[in-house]
Amino acid sequence: METENGKPSFVQAGMSIIDCDLHNRLPSHQMLYPYLSDYWCDYCEESGFPGPDADDYPDGVPTSSRPEIIHPSEDRLVSDLARLRKHALDFWEVEYGILTCGYRVQSVHNEDFAAALASAVNDWQIEHYLDTEPRLRGSLIVPSQNPELAAREIERLGGHPGFVQVMLPARSQAPYGNRRYHPIYAAAVRHGLAIGIHYGGAPGLPPTSVGWTSTYLEEYVGMSQVFQAQVLSLVSEGVFEVFPDLRVALIETGVTWMPSLMWRFDKEWRGLRHLTPWVKQPPSAYIRQHMRMTLQPIDAPPTAAELLQIVGQLDSEDMLMFSSDYPHYHFDAPEEAFPTQLPQSLARKILSENAKEFYRF
């Protein structure tokens, strides 16, 4: 039920909205030069380095960009921020929007260079987004392949009020429960930042447990298996026992797979918990307490009844947080961005209250 101005009913209803997955995009690698040392600028120029590319959003692929944004017509000449305001912040009338910059420094194996690029892209985000648009909050890009350098970047900027989380790409060299990552979590907790595990990444290892896929479609769908491995790892390694204040958002890989994973994982734990005695509660308890999932792409079942079943099977009203995933293309009509058949109190939680609490606005 759309209204004249094309806005969906849940926006019209005037409920507060927090959009937890908005993509800002570096227009060109040269934009970072003001934030890089002369050494790294020369390094980029002489080598013709075009910026790291994880190829997780090939240009032109429908899921990478909504049709009206691939062909921006009147948008062509305006800035990334102006487009983002028009198509996301103003359109959804968001109270806060969280940027999830997809700059993948993890694909750069020179770790000092990766750290310099991360710092530069964070400074660029501050100047061009966070200090410019008060509705926006940011995600820190860190060289997570070297957790010590990553922690240093969190220490450098974690106090900036614009940043609310540290961004980790879903694909990694080792699963994120591994204790090598503890410095990142310690620094994040110290600064009150969440961890956002986001679709994508290219650490140089195969994207599945059985090697490389032939098509992008397989890699895209299969990303939820990578998320599942990360969930198993974070819980099994006892990260939430070591860092009881750690909060982890699972961003942009669907939500419907979570109930069956929790059932299986709890059953595994009942049989095998003597091998990981530091995992004191059933895994689903840690997941419900510490993890949140963003809504789009929701991978909704064909009927509204089935979707309600899945939301019910989470056994939690706190886990889902609204996202439009601008500018990615997951729904046609804006009305489809949110399952409006949900009861109003739950809708309110998903649209803003869960995120408000999780990100501590």
Binding site: P175, L205, T213, E218, S260, G271, D299
Partner: protein
């Protein structure tokens, strides 16, 4: 590990996952001298490096060690007593987990495959008519695998092929197609079983613990389902049947939704697909029940079965003699309707496998 008191189930039972194992020297009669010598000298060599010690020795139930001193699953008499007779099993499908497909030395893998297959027929199926064998092919090489299927396929003792879930490449890949072509010729399903180790076992590298290895195995199955569908395998081989063993099944409805939704957006990349991914899945895949996901509420389990809409495709398995054994008398939820229980316990498997040809 379940301490089972054998108890006859009132309905017929077909067990789709029985692990028989090879006693010391058991393969020697089926290997040439050259390969016997090779086996003795170099042993099994695969892409090792991912070792997750299992909860129990041989991952076996404590009570599955036969008095003969052989390993669990190696003593047919004891297996008959503890499983086949105790639960009045109508048919049992053998799933020996010898990693022949993972051998780095392909010729050795090929010789080993032939030996394991001959051993299954002579030492098991010909001794107990309730049992059927799985062709274990050297599956990482399409030509060798196809040749072994052609060698064994005409023998009705074999009812399927058996691969391990963590393959070198996703199984829709063309390098495996010759094997599928041969399997279709004999109308043999391809069974994919829990296991395998040929590279990082997640899409995010190596985890640390057995619970991640064991609990993360479904993700390998997901990848195989995605790959089979997206590579157009079922358009190329319309009669191909795939059986997923010991991978669970509650994850399938969400995977079908995600595949359908993504295919709607990205189908330009896979123009050969004529139907929705979920339609191929419901037509071409069978799943064994063990280890079954156990939702905290009965209604969730019922919702899941309805969402899945594959009542004709679920098949009971015990996974004998492993620690997470499911008892035919107790594993299925008590609230299942009798007709569905009957399908899962035996009818679906009897329909799929050509048991009566032998």
């Amino acid at each position: 590990m379940e301490n089972t008191t054998p108890k006859r189930s009132k309905m017929p039972v077909i067990d789709c996952d029985i692990h028989n194992s090879i006693p010391p020297g058991g393969l020697s009669p089926y290997l040439s001298e050259r390969w016997q010598e090779h086996y003795k000298t170099f042993g099994l060599r695969g892409r090792i490096g991912g070792y997750y010690p299992r909860a129990l020795l041989n991952a076996a139930r404590r009570d599955a060690w036969p008095p003969s001193g052989l390993a669990p699953g190696a003593d047919l008499g004891f297996m008959q007593e503890q499983l086949l007779d105790a639960f009045d099993i109508e048919y049992g499908v053998l799933t020996p987990l010898m990693p022949v497909g993972e051998q780095l030395n392909l010729e050795f893998g090929d010789a080993l495959a032939r030996a394991v297959n001959d051993w299954q027929v002579a030492d098991w199926v010909e001794v107990d008519p309730r049992l059927r064998a799985s062709i274990v092919p050297p599956y990482e090489d399409g030509d060798l695998a196809a040749a072994e299927v052609h060698r064994c396929g005409p023998n009705p003792a074999f009812v399927q092929l058996l691969l391990l879930a963590r393959t070198r490449d996703p199984l829709g890949n063309r390098r495996y197609w010759k094997m599928y072509e041969a399997a279709c010729e004999y109308d043999l399903p391809i069974a994919i079983h829990f296991g395998g180790n040929q590279g990082p076992i997640t899409g995010a590298g190596w985890p640390s613990y057995y619970i991640e290895d064991h609990g993360g195995m479904p993700q390998a199955f997901h990848t195989q389902v995605i790959s089979f569908v997206m590579e157009g395998v079922f358009e190329r081989f319309p009669t191909l049947k795939i059986v997923l063993i010991e991978g669970g099944f509650a994850w399938l409805p969400p995977l079908m939704w995600r595949l359908d939704a993504t295919w709607e957006k990205l189908r330009v990349e896979v123009p050969d697909l004529k139907r929705k991914p979920s339609e191929y899945i419901r037509d071409h895949f069978w799943l064994s029940t063990q280890p079954m996901e156990e939702p905290p509420k009965r209604e969730y389990f019922e919702q899941m079965l309805e969402q899945m809409d594959m009542d004709d495709k679920l098949m009971f398995a015990t996974d004998y003699p492993h620690w997470d054994f499911d008892s035919p008398a107790r594993a299925l939820p008590s609230f299942l309707k009798p007709e569905l229980r009957r399908k899962i316990l035996a009818d679906n498997a009897r329909e799929l496998y050509a048991f009566d040809k032998l």
